[in-house]
């Protein structure tokens, strides 16, 4: 059990390291605006193929990247109704305080429980490896509970 967790987190970490190469990209639609392209999705050429790293049907990570932003969606393991409720409350609690987290998204992507949005401005202020460590530690902590 602990073994698959490690390979799973290693795979996620490697995928994140490869995808988190972001650069600033001013919006092509509106002058002087800089929007996260993964949210706006204004042009097909700016988006990269989404990656899924899955441990099993209930636990997976969807990594969608673009030229200036990456959206990481997690699906937390929920085994029964009680788990589902707890996960739902926990995620809602976090998402309501998304501003404190900076990289958390206020709404999760469909089919997933929690979503992070990392843009090039975030990467300019924070260390990439620390950010990846944060996401991985988060996943570990949630898994422990």
């Amino acid at each position: 059990m602990a073994n698959t967790l490690k390979t799973y987190l290693d795979a996620v970490r490697a995928s994140l390291e490869a995808c988190l190469c972001l650069t600033t990209f001013p919006s092509q639609q509106v002058e002087r605006h800089n929007k996260p392209e993964i949210e706006v999705q204004s042009s097909k050429e700016l988006l990269l193929t989404p990656l899924v790293v899955a441990r099993n049907e209930d636990e997976k990570v969807l990594i969608e990247s673009s030229v200036n932003s990456v959206r990481i969606s997690l699906k937390i393991k929920q085994m029964d109704g009680m788990d589902q409720l707890l996960a739902h409350w926990f995620c809602r609690f976090l998402m309501q305080r998304a501003e404190q987290f900076i990289v958390l998204r206020r709404k999760a992507v469909d089919g997933f429980d929690l979503s992070f949005l990392i843009t090039n401005t975030n990467l300019e202020k924070m260390w990439k490896h620390k950010l990846i460590d944060f996401v991985i530690t988060f996943m570990e902590e949630v898994d422990k509970e």
Partner: protein
């Protein structure tokens, strides 16, 4: 090729014949099944040795299939092992090439 017991060769051959520009979903799905069979036939202990025999483009294709398999949640535990072995062989570049394809 698999019957000949040459599993490493089978995986490499599967990568070479990947339908890269096919628009037909059926063709891609069929080939994917073949790839999963070849990759699944490799016992866990041998995954790293087989991964070492793949050339860089084959490694990239294999990475693509690992991610496709995980998106379909097919054999995830062995796919994770393949991911680690291919990563060692191809480096972060193989993932970047999957994302950029």
């Amino acid at each position: 090729e698999m019957q000949a017991g040459n599993i490493a060769g089978a995986v490499a051959a599967a990568m070479d014949y990947a339908p890269l520009h096919s628009k037909d979903e059926d063709v891609k799905a069929q080939h994917a099944q073949l790839v999963y069979k070849a990759m699944g036939a490799v016992p866990d202990a041998k995954i790293s040795t087989v991964a070492k025999t793949l050339s860089t483009p084959q490694c990239d294709m294999a990475m693509k299939y690992v991610y496709r398999a995980m998106a379909e949640t097919h054999e995830c535990s062995s796919m994770l092992k393949w991911h680690a072995a291919l990563l060692k062989q191809g480096g972060l570049g193989s993932i970047s090439r999957v994302v950029a394809s």
